[in-house]
């Protein structure tokens, strides 16, 4: 059933010409998006992961040694539905792409709002568009960033002046070309947030996905550079965040706003062992890597998804419209 077990994959051995091709074909023999469902064992290679045999044979789980980290997308719920005891402090960072439709909701939820350079243009133009029933100036003064940060080569001069007049701090960092705009914003927020314990801080980032691919990769790298800070990248279609390998993860699914499509992606390094519960196609001590299996087009089946892995993973889930 796997697409790679089709006749074009060369399997003859012994012929000198084909040995070169076989070396190459080690890359192509694994399926992708294999959903680990009931599979007849593939006749080819033992590399193809199978479902766990029986409990008695389960390998000892290292999960007990790691601290737990929990995740929730409650920030996407309408404000009336917010659980009263939520202790999370939210910051919003807006990068230079079209605002997603829920931008006003997240902005209202946050205690700190930072625009990275041209993100200020997006807030200036986009917030009135998302709230058409209100006067533009009212919207703009209500949705005023606390800080505009970055190298200032994209923000329009009139936008910068407008917000500066309203009290927005302009933090020009054009001298620092070594870090991305998002990196600068995350560093700023963590440096300026009260207390040394950042565990209840959650940074929501708009405009980090899509657009120029090197920007997207730089933004995903920021997640890996700050593994102990909760940073969520959001678009109209989905959200992503890092599951650092140092923790076991409990992801609470808000079914009214997210799902069912999800995935787990080993962007930086392969995972020799990942285990999940709560998904339609769970992983069980499974190997994941680019060139082989990664978990995409999976489905959340329960309200809680648990993930343990020996490698940092990117979790992604679709957002409902």
């Amino acid at each position: 059933r796997c697409a790679s077990w089709t006749s074009e994959a060369p399997v003859a051995v012994g012929d000198a010409d084909q040995i070169q091709f076989l070396k190459h074909s080690t890359r192509t023999r694994a399926t992708i998006n294999c959903n680990f469902s009931e599979h007849a064992p593939c006749p080819m290679e033992p590399h193809h992961p199978r479902r766990a045999p029986t409990a008695a044979m389960d390998p000892p789980s290292p999960a007990g040694a790691r601290p737990a980290m929990s995740h929730s997308s409650a920030f996407l719920l309408p404000s009336s539905a917010t659980p009263a005891a939520s202790a999370d402090a939210y910051a919003v960072v807006v990068l230079n792409q079209r605002l997603p439709r829920f931008a006003p909701l997240l902005w209202d939820r946050a205690q700190v709002r930072v625009c990275a350079d041209g993100g200020a243009n997006r807030v200036f133009d986009g917030m009135p568009e998302l709230l058409p029933g209100h006067a533009r100036d009212d919207v703009r003064s209500r949705y005023k960033p606390d800080v505009i940060k970055g190298d200032m080569d994209s923000v329009r001069p009139e936008v910068k002046e407008y917000y500066s007049n309203l009290g927005t701090k302009i933090a020009d960092q054009s001298h620092d070309q070594d870090t991305t705009d998002l990196h600068k914003c995350v560093a700023f927020i963590t440096d300026n947030s009260p207390g040394s314990d950042k565990s209840n801080l959650c940074i929501l980032v708009l405009g980090a996905l899509g657009g120029r691919f090197d920007h997207e990769m730089g933004n995903i790298n920021v997640l890996h550079l700050f593994p102990n800070i909760k940073i969520v990248l959001l678009s109209d279609d989905c959200l992503i965040f890092l599951l650092p390998r140092t923790h076991t993860h409990s992801i609470h699914i808000e079914r009214s706003v997210e799902g069912p499509h999800c995935g787990l992606i080993p962007v930086g390094t392969p995972s020799t062992s990942t285990t999940t519960t709560g998904l339609r196609w769970n992983l069980d001590n499974t190997h994941m890597s680019f060139g082989g299996l990664i978990s995409t087009s999976n489905i959340v089946d329960e309200d809680q998804v648990m993930v343990t892995s020996d490698s940092d993973l990117i979790w992604t889930i679709s957002l409902r419209h």
Binding site: R1, C2, A3, S4, T6, S7, E8, H24, S25, R27, T28, A30, T31, I32, N33, C34, N35, T180, L209, G210, G211, R212, F213, D214, H215, M217, G218, I220, N221, H224, L225, P227, S235, D237, C238, I240, H261, C262, G263, I265, P266, V267, G268, T269, P270, S289, F290, G291, G292, I294, T296, S297, N298, D312, I314, T316, S318
Partner: protein, 270 residues
């Protein structure tokens, strides 16, 4: 001892096979160079808004494949781009995939115009792009494989797990030339098995570029032709990766111990 030293020297100067890359397929048809690294183009259209330079790709390709809802995109958007109301001019040779997004009237139209409808709905294990690449590979005779380049639109943006799965297709089929294109940029795999020479078409691409060790870190990458070149550098997510780099030459070279993803920005093409 002398002999051993000689052997060491031989290992270090032995060069890898060179793989050349060029985005000349983005040039207008009249400006195509006489010789390109690969000149047999197949176009795969996935289900996202068509990039504005789609007419150039369509003209360039010998074979056009719509992956499922990609057929809706050609049906709806192509005539606006070309100011040509005649849909008959843009008929894909093949419509392939699990057929859960293509509109029935679109499927009927292309079927009636001669497109081969390749229904793969029985196979739910792989993405539409994987199915298309797999079929292309199967259909291409061995002696033509080196000359083949698959151009893919609609693979980036949208749902992140789809994007990751599409990028993984580049890794799974790493012995094929596959280029993912969007309005903003293109990406392609630079397999570690080769020394890469990337010829820059500055009228259509650049200057922003980047190189990423997706899937596994690199302990040693060396480049030339970039504003910030790498010299035996380590690259890893969680550490340094090359983003917002700038092409500084007509030719960029890359050699690495890891498979890398190359990206370059595209200029505003119509």
């Amino acid at each position: 001892d002398y002999l051993q030293e000689d052997k060491m020297l031989w290992r270090t100067i032995r060069s890898m096979e060179v793989m050349a890359h060029s985005s000349s397929f983005l040039l207008p048809k009249l400006h195509q160079p006489a010789k390109t690294p690969a000149n047999n183009y197949t176009l795969v259209v996935l289900n996202q808004q068509l990039p504005r330079f789609m007419p150039r790709l369509w003209a360039q390709a010998k074979m056009r494949i719509c992956a499922d809802g990609g057929a809706n995109r050609i049906f709806d958007e192509m005539s606006q781009m070309t100011n040509d109301l005649d849909r008959n001019r843009y008929i894909p040779e093949i419509v392939e995939g699990d057929m859960d997004s293509i509109r029935p009237e679109v499927k009927r139209f292309y079927s009636s115009q001669g497109s081969k409808i390749s229904d793969k709905s029985h196979n739910q294990e792989t993405t539409d792009l994987h199915k298309c690449i797999s079929s292309i590979r199967h259909r291409t005779p061995d002696h033509e494989k080196a000359n083949l380049c698959v151009l893919v639109t609609g693979a980036l943006g949208g749902r992140f797990d789809h994007e990751a799965a599409n990028i993984n297709v580049l890794y799974v089929f790493s012995d094929m030339r596959i280029v993912l294109l969007s309005d903003d940029c293109l990406i392609q795999l630079l397999p570690k098995t080769h020394h890469h020479e990337i010829y820059i078409e500055s009228s259509v691409e650049g200057p922003h570029c980047g190189i990423f060790p997706i899937g596994a870190p690199s302990t040693s990458t060396t480049t030339t032709g970039l504003k910030w070149n790498l010299s035996d550098a380590e690259m890893r997510f969680g550490s340094m990766i090359s983003t917002s780099n700038i092409v500084d030459s007509d030719k960029v070279t890359v050699q690495s111990d890891a498979d890398l993803l190359w990206t370059i920005s595209l200029r505003n093409l119509t």
